[in-house]
């Protein structure tokens, strides 16, 4: 167990100034540095989530032509810590019908997988600290698919154990969505793995520095992955399962206090996580701009990569939040159609195009991309032409069933 696997379990780039006791394996291959890193990571995630919530409120405010939080702290920046305090002090209600064992366990099962997935993210280098990655795992890509998949159990547990049929229904819906979107996500990742010829996230980032960012080489893959992850974490416009304004929070109806907060913690942590993953997998990780290594500017990325990584990640986070407030929520059938009829085929197209790129070179690949886009345009046009009258009719006959944009309150 220890011999070979140990190499997997050490930090990849240990800075020379770090004392030996920090990096020496202790229990089960864990070193003191690992434990410190874990604690730091946890603190980072929690704090980032609070910042994220503040950002989201501000984004919402600006999108909706208002100001958002203002009064607690400068620009309302302390609003989130205040909310956390409120949640922590709030009573944890357990309904009588709830299952006493499963009900309190569910929030952890939702949050822990998300947190565990952070272990493999290659954060990038920083001066004096070297490359930040807690577990430069060879199977990182499989890991980042496998571990979040366990969230589903937590959601079902939450829905079932609440003893409320609405929460059970909500959990069924959210899990169906989770499973459906997992497929296109994995298919999109196949292209990434083929490009880097590795499942190790660090290697993937480094390969992008050599051959260009995946967002350019795999535009379809990036699109599919990004949309699928948005749906995976039930973010608007894919948040039909939890849809607070319609079905009062899906599986979490009966939760309150910090247990409820855990679900939201998990959701916002997932936003952070998936932005980080998208950055690493498609946006060149910690590279400053595409081709900077080729131009001899690689040293900037090699020294301050962590900052660039964070910057890209935050941009993606903002994009995700932005989408929430400008796009209407989908109906559940549209949601499923989107996964199975658009994202999955698109993922396969991306997969095939990547294979063409790897085997036949760039020119056939470019032709393939062009053809695909043209085909997509034609399909989209015909689809719209076919769909719009009935959609209009639906809106006219049943206005109450029409999803509304949360903020603007406008019918679609």
């Amino acid at each position: 167990m220890t011999n070979n696997a140990a190499s997997e379990l050490t930090l990849q780039a240990v800075p020379s100034w770090m004392p030996a006791f920090l990096v020496a394996p202790m229990i089960g291959g864990l070193s003191l540095a690992d434990l410190i890193a874990l604690v730091v990571l946890l603190l980072f995630v929690l704090n980032f989530v609070m910042i994220e919530i503040w950002m989201e409120r501000k984004v919402a405010g600006h999108v909706q032509l208002r100001r958002g939080p203002l009064h607690v702290g400068p620009h309302g920046s302390l609003q989130s810590p205040a909310d956390v305090l409120k949640l922590l002090t709030k009573e944890d209600l357990t309904p009588v019908a709830a299952d006493p064992i499963v009900f309190p366990m569910a929030p952890y099962l939702v949050f822990v997988p998300v947190f565990l997935t952070f272990l493999v993210i290659p954060w990038g280098p920083l001066v004096l600290f070297g490359n930040f990655v807690i577990r430069p795992f060879d199977l990182g890509l499989v890991y980042m698919v496998a571990i979040p998949a366990m969230q589903g159990i937590g959601l079902v547990m939450a829905g079932w154990s609440s003893g409320n049929k609405y929460s059970l229904l909500g959990s069924a819906r959210v899990v169906a969505q989770l499973i459906s979107y997992e497929l296109p996500m994995v298919i999109a990742l196949l292209g990434v793995a083929m490009m880097a010829e590795s499942l190790n996230l660090t290697t993937i980032v480094e390969s992008q520095m050599k051959q260009g960012w995946n967002v350019f080489l795999q535009p379809i893959g990036f699109l599919v992955f990004f949309l699928a992850t948005m749906s995976e974490m039930s973010r608007a416009p894919f948040d039909i399962a939890v849809a607070e304004s319609e079905i009062v929070g899906g599986p979490f109806v009966e939760y309150s206090g910090m247990r409820w907060g855990m679900f939201y913690l998990a959701e916002f942590a997932a936003v952070c996580l998936n932005s980080a993953l998208s950055t690493a997998l498609f946006l060149g990780g910690w590279e400053l701009f595409p081709g900077s290594h080729a131009l001899g500017l690689g040293w900037i990325s090699d020294q301050f990569g962590l900052l660039f990584f964070m910057g890209k990640m935050i941009v993606l986070v903002v994009i995700i939040q932005w989408a929430r407030f400008v796009l209407p929520r989908l109906r559940i059938d549209q949601l499923m159609d989107f996964a199975w009829k658009f994202l999955l085929p698109a993922g396969f197209v991306n997969f095939i195009l990547t294979a063409i790129l790897q085997v036949f070179g760039f020119v056939p690949f470019a032709i393939g991309i062009g053809l695909t886009l043209a085909l997509a345009a034609v399909l989209l046009a015909t689809y719209q032409a076919r769909r719009s009258p009935s959609t209009v009719a639906l809106i006219r006959t049943a206005p109450e069933a029409v999803p509304t944009s949360q903020g603007l309150g406008l019918p679609v």
Binding site: M1, G28, L139, A146, A149, V156, L178, I179
Partner: protein
């Protein structure tokens, strides 16, 4: 004792307890949750046996998908209305499985097994090579089996209520 050995005994113990829970639990949802626990623990055992890819696959397939399927199936079917029947054949089951266990125990302990060599981690590259060269045909067959199972499950589970497409086609 090595740490990994300790970890193995702990994980194995948890697995066995969870498995026992699966087969004796009154509540079917508890049984399912315990089964998931047991399967995830199995994944950990794979990890301890240096089969990290298999461990992740185990967690992905069982922890992520199969378990949810099971829970769905349980939710779509009603709880047993006669819970007292839920364990009717327990004596026969206990005797049979006990006898089988006794036999396996004797078989496992009575003979000298080859001494364990130095466990070696198998890299994903080797595994991929084996899967796509030596085991290419079984691999493809497995994919076909999956496809068939997918289509079969779809066909079997599809609604045949009156007015549905299938029912209309069947009556046509």
């Amino acid at each position: 004792m090595e740490l990994s050995a300790v970890a193995f005994y702990v994980v194995a113990g948890v697995t066995l307890v969870a498995a026992l829970g699966v087969v004796v639990a009154r509540s079917v949802v508890y049984a399912a949750l315990l089964l998931i626990l047991s399967l995830v623990m199995t994944g950990l055992i794979y990890l301890l046996l240096l089969a990290d890819f298999l461990a992740l696959i185990q967690i992905l397939v069982y922890g992520g998908t199969v378990s949810i399927l099971l829970l769905f199936a349980l939710m779509l079917t009603p709880p047993e209305t006669r819970p007292e029947l839920n364990h009717r054949g327990w004596a026969l089951g206990a005797v049979t499985s006990g006898a089988l266990f006794a036999l396996l125990l004797v078989a496992s302990l009575a003979d000298k097994w080859p001494a364990a060599g130095a466990a070696r981690h198998i890299s994903l590259v080797d595994l991929g090579r084996a899967l796509f060269s030596t085991w290419a045909v079984p691999f493809e067959v497995a994919s076909v089996v999956l496809l068939v199972a997918l289509l079969g499950a779809l066909t079997i589970a599809r609604s045949t209520s009156p007015g549905s497409k299938i029912a209309r086609r069947a009556s046509a």
